[in-house]
């Protein structure tokens, strides 16, 4: 077990790669009541073409299967694992993103039992035709709920515009139609390919004794046998640099219009600290251009073009990155043009002053510190960073060494008009 000390953050992280390949991280947080544990596989909705473990040809699996599998992991021959967690005073949950599937619990008691329950249930799949069929009704309702949600629709509408081929454009839960094709055999194929310990990370944060907890995980894993790991072979289609579609409009039963503008970036070529620097440059750039202290925000707000739903987001994951800007507005066309102009100006270095940079950086440092109050943030983000070859604890030191030039260079390189797209949600015509 190795110990990493992050002086400035006053945090320590213990790490061990077990014999079976599982990465285990433990961050002791004294003074907290809650322990939060995540067990995550480096597998998400985009991983829909791969060579199944033990075979030699690529297969394509139905849309929404990673999320479906996440739902079905909870059901066992002797009932639902939620029951067991409840009995042990733990609140359990799971989520599926583009690139990860995470199982988790939080609890203030029975930490060892709950940790074993978490590891054991994720390592013991049990799928039957009957339970798979039953889940289709439940997930169908989940999909319909999102179909009625204008924020989700405009978000995914924009991603669909940006990408021509890449499976990031497919809704994480799939569609009511695509999930009807899912069988228990599909689930086992995906499970056997992506849930090997070598492809997974366990993260424990809370008032725990690290040596004790590490021993518990070691013992638990030593009792189980796993096949020899084979490297996961995924395949992704070639994605052009330009946006697939410049614009799209969605009519919904809503009062407010929404406008989102986004641009995609070529998949990152760098790794480690350089990648972290790139990611931070992206978020500083957006803050400087569109943050609440920017001239853009002030002008657009006083002109009534935006309200406090206005925001921005950068997503940089394995194999794709994009940025989104927008919110509710009465004048989607005007807002779209303003955002695009602001971005194109930034490519020329306009709006990128030293003063704005300092302020954005300070804000980012403060928000990072605040985020370290949250066990959820630490566990989820640390895992995400680790899968991407980054270290979450380097965020503040890297921010402190960054300069305005990092941001202007990023803007020069990444902003291209042909990579832009926009998506509106508009009220249905009442006529």
């Amino acid at each position: 077990m190795e110990k990493n000390v992050f002086d400035q953050m006053k945090e320590e992280v213990f790490h061990e790669k077990l014999d079976n390949g599982l990465n285990v991280f433990i961050l002791p947080k004294q003074g907290f009541n809650k322990t939060y544990v995540t067990f995550t596989t480096n597998y998400g909705s985009i991983d829909n073409e791969f060579i199944p473990n033990g075979e030699s040809d690529y297969i394509h699996v139905p849309d929404g299967i990673a999320h479906f599998l996440e739902h079905k992991m909870f059901e066992k021959e002797d009932g639902d694992v939620f029951q067991k967690f409840s009995s042990q005073g733990a609140s359990a949950n799971a989520f599926t993103s583009f690139t990860r599937t995470a199982y988790l619990f939080s609890a203030t008691s029975n930490i060892k039992e709950n940790t074993e329950t978490l590891i054991d249930f994720v390592q013991a799949p049990y799928f039957t035709e009957q339970t798979v069929e039953k889940e289709k009704g439940i997930i169908g309702q989940e999909i319909r709920m999102y179909d009625d949600n204008p924020d989700w629709r405009v978000y995914f509408g924009l991603i669909e515009n940006l990408y021509e081929q890449h499976p990031v454009k497919i809704d994480i839960a799939g569609t009511v139609e695509s999930i009807t094709d899912i069988t228990k055999d599909h689930l086992y194929t995906c499970y056997n390919t992506f849930y090997h310990p070598v492809n997974m990370t366990l993260f424990i944060v809370g008032p725990v004794d690290p040596a004790d907890m590490m021993q518990l995980v070691r013992d638990n894993q030593a009792k189980k046998s796993f096949p020899e790991p084979v490297p996961v072979q995924r395949r992704f289609p070639e994605e052009p640099e330009k946006a697939a579609k410049a614009h799209h409009e969605i009519r919904m039963n809503v009062n407010s219009s929404k406008c989102e503008v986004g641009f995609k970036m070529p998949a990152s070529a760098v790794t480690g600290r350089e990648k972290l620097r790139e990611e931070l440059a992206a978020s500083l750039l957006l803050e400087m251009l569109f943050g609440k202290t920017s001239r853009f925000y002030e002008k657009a707000y006083s002109a009534g073009l935006i309200d406090d739903t206005f925001g921005f987001d950068y997503t940089g994951e394995r194999g794709f990155s994009f940025a989104l800007v927008g919110g509710d507005t009465d004048q989607p066309e005007t807002l779209e043009k303003r955002i695009q102009k602001q971005l194109l100006d930034a490519k020329e270095g306009i709006h990128l002053s030293a003063e704005a940079f300092d302020r954005a950086r300070k804000k980012k440092i403060g928000s990072t510190l605040r985020a370290f109050n949250s066990p959820e943030f630490i566990a989820n983000q640390f895992t995400r960073y680790q899968f991407n070859g980054l270290n979450l604890f380097e965020t503040v030191p890297v921010l402190e060494e960054m300069t305005l030039e990092d941001v202007t260079a990023f803007a020069r390189k990444m902003i291209e008009e042909e990579r832009f797209s926009s998506c509106f949600v508009l009220p249905k015509e009442t006529a």
Partner: protein, 425 residues
């Protein structure tokens, strides 16, 4: 579990509650202003937090104010309005990094406090009142916010149920304000109302973090000089039930129907039976092992969410699920059956044990965030109840199945609200 106890200091204008703890990397100040919910004032109260953060004497625009926050290492400031029973609560929160984690910074806490004081006591004025331009902008924003409630269908359905069920009861007033009361607001009348609220609301200040209580109190008194007043007791009024169950159906162009069943109970947070009702609601619908989740979702695959919620300052319970319209009758029937099971006391050992374990877990977890701690404390402070966390935890353990069933027998279904979606294709 860390035994963190707050220390409370009464001044003639407000109460100051301090929690000394080193577990966070930030320090937090929260100010709560409470007054009865009223149709005539709620919209002004809802707009005030937005007006106040659009400029102070020292930082005379929203951008200048936000810049001042960013310069304090992204100090977080937010203000919101919420409902507690029949009362309206404005909350102002300032959270700032603890400088011991930063290189060469000091006085961040003091600077953040004086910024917060500027917002409340030295807002930007023009000719002695709020600037007209600010009011115009914020009226438009508020209009937009209220109109967009319609777009979030789950929230919309809950609000409509409450509106229908509590006609002529202040509880029906949405804490975010009323659309028809926006127009009459002007800069002078809003300023006059703000002065009144500042002078008369019941004020609680919370300081949480790496601070010394006596120093914190001195600083609060100096920077936040609330005038003398008599704090008001919170009104708890559970309202009056109608004769029969009312059924209301609204149809919209939607993929999923939203079913919300509103119920009343006479038990509120102040009552000794409150904890039994909390356990009752837990068994019925608060968790993934609860009766509603197990029967509506897991057994029948009718819904993705199926749950119940208990607003303890009103005695309001809501059962809710998102379903296909064709499954309306079946779902209503299952929900009613599960409530009847509770009343009959058909509760297993497992169900009550799981519920107690999770309720205790929730309570202990809430102490891990500054905001969570304040919310737990404020339940007691606002309602004039004494239920310290350790006592609360013990009380949960002591609840019997019969007590949970007794609590269930106080529940009556009042109004069924269904926001119907379109027919199955």
């Amino acid at each position: 579990m860390e035994a963190t106890r707050e220390q409370t200091f009464q001044t003639s204008g407000c109460s100051i509650h301090v929690l000394e703890t080193e577990k966070y990397k930030t320090n937090t100040i929260m100010i709560k202003m409470r007054a009865p919910l009223d149709k005539e004032t709620v919209t002004m109260r809802a707009i005030l937090p937005h007006v106040l953060q659009s400029g102070t004497e020292n930082a005379p625009s929203a951008a200048a104010f936000r810049s001042a926050l960013d310069d304090l290492y992204g100090a977080l400031f937010f203000a919101d309005s919420a409902k507690k029973g029949n009362e309206h609560v404005l909350t102002f929160t300032m959270e700032v990094a603890n400088e011991k984690y930063l290189h060469g910074e000091n006085d961040l806490f003091d600077k953040a406090l004086s910024l917060l004081a500027d917002v409340l006591f030295r807002p930007k004025l023009k000719e002695g009142v709020f600037p007209e331009k600010t009011i115009r902008q914020e009226k438009r924003s508020l209009q937009q916010r209220i109109r967009s409630v319609y777009d979030d269908k789950t929230r919309y359905a809950s609000l409509k149920l409450v509106e229908e069920m509590y006609k002529d009861d202040p509880y029906a007033i949405p804490p975010g304000g009323l659309l028809e009361k926006i127009e009459p607001i002007d800069n002078a009348s809003l300023y006059t109302y703000y002065q009144k609220a500042l002078a008369e609301d019941t004020i609680d200040i919370f300081v949480i973090g790496d601070v010394k209580a006596d120093q914190a109190v001195q600083k609060m008194k100096k920077h936040l000089p609330f005038e003398d007043r008599t704090p008001s007791e919170m009104i708890t009024d559970t309202g009056h039930a109608g004769e029969d169950v009312r059924v209301i159906r609204e149809t919209q162009d939607l993929n999923q129907g939203k079913l919300n069943i509103g119920c009343r109970t006479s038990i509120t947070y102040k009552d000794p039976e409150f904890v039994a009702m909390q356990v009752c609601n837990g068994i019925l619908g608060a968790f993934a092992h609860s009766k509603l989740f197990m029967n509506v979702r897991e057994k029948e695959s009718l819904a993705y969410y199926a749950a119940s919620r208990f607003d303890s300052h009103k005695g309001f319970i809501m059962m809710l699920a998102g379903i296909d319209q064709k499954n309306y009758d079946k779902t209503v029937q299952i929900m009613n059956e599960q409530l009847d099971e509770m009343k009959k006391g058909s509760i297993t050992d497992l169900e009550i044990d799981q519920t107690k374990a999770l309720l205790k877990n929730q309570l202990q977890e809430s102490a891990d965030t500054a905001r969570g701690m304040v919310e737990v404390l404020y339940h007691n402070i606002a309602s004039g109840t004494s239920r310290p966390v350790d006592q609360w935890l013990q009380d949960i353990d002591a609840v019997t199945k019969e007590q949970a069933a007794q609590a269930a027998r106080t529940i009556t279904v009042d109004t069924v609200y269904f926001l119907a979606g379109k027919e199955e294709k």
